[in-house]
């Protein structure tokens, strides 16, 4: 195994540790408090399914059963 492979292997291990360690931290305010951020909710409709479920649930709640 060449020295380059050993060096890159150690670099890779350190990088993987840094990657998983810092991924769980919130980004700096310099990143998050900007006016020109991409509005991802416009492109990724992550509320569509829950919205439909919620609407269905609400419509069921509003139905009064005659006992």
């Amino acid at each position: 195994m060449s020295y380059l492979t050993i060096f890159l292997g150690i670099l890779g291990l350190l990088s993987a540790f840094v990657f998983f360690y810092f991924l769980k931290f919130k980004a700096s305010t310099k990143q998050t408090e900007r006016g020109d951020r991409i509005k991802w909710s416009k492109y990724i409709p992550y509320r569509d399914k829950t919205s439909r479920e919620d609407l269905k649930k609400e419509s069921q709640d509003a139905t009064f059963k005659d006992d």
Binding site: M1, S2, L4, T5, L8, G9, L11, G12, L13, S15, A16, V18, F19, F20, F22, L23, K24, F25, K26, A27, S28, K30, Q31, T32, R34, D36, R37, I38, W40, S41, K42, Y43, I44, P45, Y46, R47, D48, K49, T50, S51, D54, L55
Partner: protein
Amino acid sequence: MSKHQALDTLGRSGNPIIRSAAFQDKVSANEERMSLEGAVNKTGILLFLTVLAAAFSWNFQGPFMAIISSLGTLVALISGIMTFGFYFFFVGWLVEPRPYNAPRTAPIYAIGMGLFIGLISQQAENMYPGIVIQAVSLTFFVAASLLLAYKTGVIKPNQNLLLMIFAATMGIFLTYIANLVYFLITGNNFFVLTDNGTVGILVSLFIIGIAALNLVLDFDIIEQADEQGAPKYMEWFGAMALMATLIWLYIEILRLLMKLRSR
């Protein structure tokens, strides 16, 4: 319609109730929300599944494994389309993105792509010993560097950057499709994709650059979904997006190293 306005309409629901911010807040208050920690855990699980499948395909080479790997890749692509959708220039969304599928499709995607990269990695390692460790290490090095650049605010993704990365990614995707068709007809690949001269290496570096910038978008998706209190399944979606980009980055780095070693 300007380019930005056109891009803004992608994936936007026509239903005014669903589009209402007040409604979104109400919905998210009723269900379990995602967290950064959860997204990291899911990324770890997907990475583990990818490595496990890759190790399996690496160790059991042969015609049968080649068929299984091909099927795995096909299933992974279908899983990807079922989650991220399928957009085509001038046509729009052929398949709408369905992020709520991610908890089911993400593990399938990871295993399918794992089988594929195990196969190609083993072939690359046979030709150039040590190349896989180098490619994996460089992939994590690029990912960690961009993560730090993103978290500290050095790289700030905005609409212009999104438009640029989106156009470049679609361009690369179309080139790969055209190359596949060309290969099926003539048995050869495009010169720029396989050339180990300066042009081929510059093309590889460009593709690696675009793949790396896609990582920044993935970080931004995860960060913003966490801030907005997105549903729990967005942890899987973010992790799957991250894995898809990491796998693409790994394949391109492996290809670049092979070109460099063959000179």
